[in-house]
Symmetry: C2
Subunit: 195 residues, 2 copies
């Protein structure tokens, strides 16, 4: 996650031109992606569209994966906000089990919607502590509230794992499950773990 994620940001501030270019690059990337899809997005095109040199793109985002991760930050921050303070059942106010099932459904949708982008972001996104860490923390908390016994940290990551993009792609694309079947299966898994 980069400085663009409000949840974690701050830092020693960015020079004015740098901030302007970062924003221009993110806009350019989003526009190009909307037109051509994730895979056809080239760094040269982004730089050209934003009216900056290619080197600038790499200084700001480190790599293509880093740029993709920054594009995801937006969506992820919104999602995290809706978990922390959005309306129930995803947000606080609902019973733990309801929240947990809403979490699964919501995460499933997010991963299906942003799948291509998430895969394009690769490890930069996938091994980011702030992303999986937040989800794991949340699930762990809900499991605690549900009175589940055992290594809750592990169980939380294990419940999140079947919602990951590669697994979903395998289940839906190769295994020919429907989205509903996957969600129903996950709920069944959760109930067995919680029971």
């Amino acid at each position: 996650m980069s400085k663009t994620l409000p949840l974690l940001s701050s830092g020693p501030s960015e020079r004015a031109d740098a901030a302007r270019n970062r924003s221009a690059l993110l806009d350019a990337a989003a526009e190009l992606m909307a037109g051509c899809g994730v895979d056809a997005l080239t760094m040269d095109a982004v730089a050209a569209r934003a009216g900056v040199g290619k080197g600038t793109v790499f200084r700001r985002f480190g790599s293509r994966e880093g740029l993709m991760a920054s594009l995801l930050d937006h969506r992820e921050a919104e999602w995290q906000a809706s978990v922390i303070s959005g309306p129930p059942p995803l947000g606080p106010g609902a019973a733990p089990m309801e929240r947990l099932l809403a979490f699964g459904a919501s995460r499933l949708r997010l991963h299906l919607d942003q799948g291509a982008l998430i895969e394009a972001a690769g490890r930069t996104w996938g091994e980011n502590y702030a992303v999986l860490g937040f989800a794991a923390m949340h699930v762990r908390l809900l499991l605690t509230e549900l009175g589940v016994q055992g290594n809750l940290h592990y169980l939380a990551t294990a419940l999140i794992a079947p919602l990951s993009v590669p697994v979903l792609r395998q289940q839906i694309g190769v295994g020919h499950m429907s989205e509903e079947q996957v969600l129903a299966g996950w709920e069944e898994l959760v109930r067995k773990v919680v029971a």
Copy 2:
């Protein structure tokens, strides 16, 4: 999975020169990888070492990922064989629960050992029906024997998901779990699902 996997192979046979080159390329790749690691392996280097043109490498394996997948085929085939007909508790002869736990431990080891190669093989390997499909089928069978109720196909894939390379890397690398903790956690998960 490619023609090199005995479990699935045959086909209308390969011309003698093609077979010779395939074998030479796999050897060259394995040797270079042993020396320089997975990431430093370039297609040009493999071609040069095998004494063939670059085009030949791509005709045989399709892509870099395809070459990596072919290198994995060997190990995967051995592993599948040990599940199907190796000694207990991984192979037949042990009680279903023992076999299931042995499956987890074995798969965990395989993924930790071959992690870099598996990631380098990307979707070519990861979405391969013959790989995840075999594991899912096996787990599904064991769950049946254990009398588990529900959507066993989904539960099988959900139990395999936490053993995937990205999840393991996250748990061990970022979350600072030990290999033993991960395995213990997975066993706990299995017992909750089976119970």
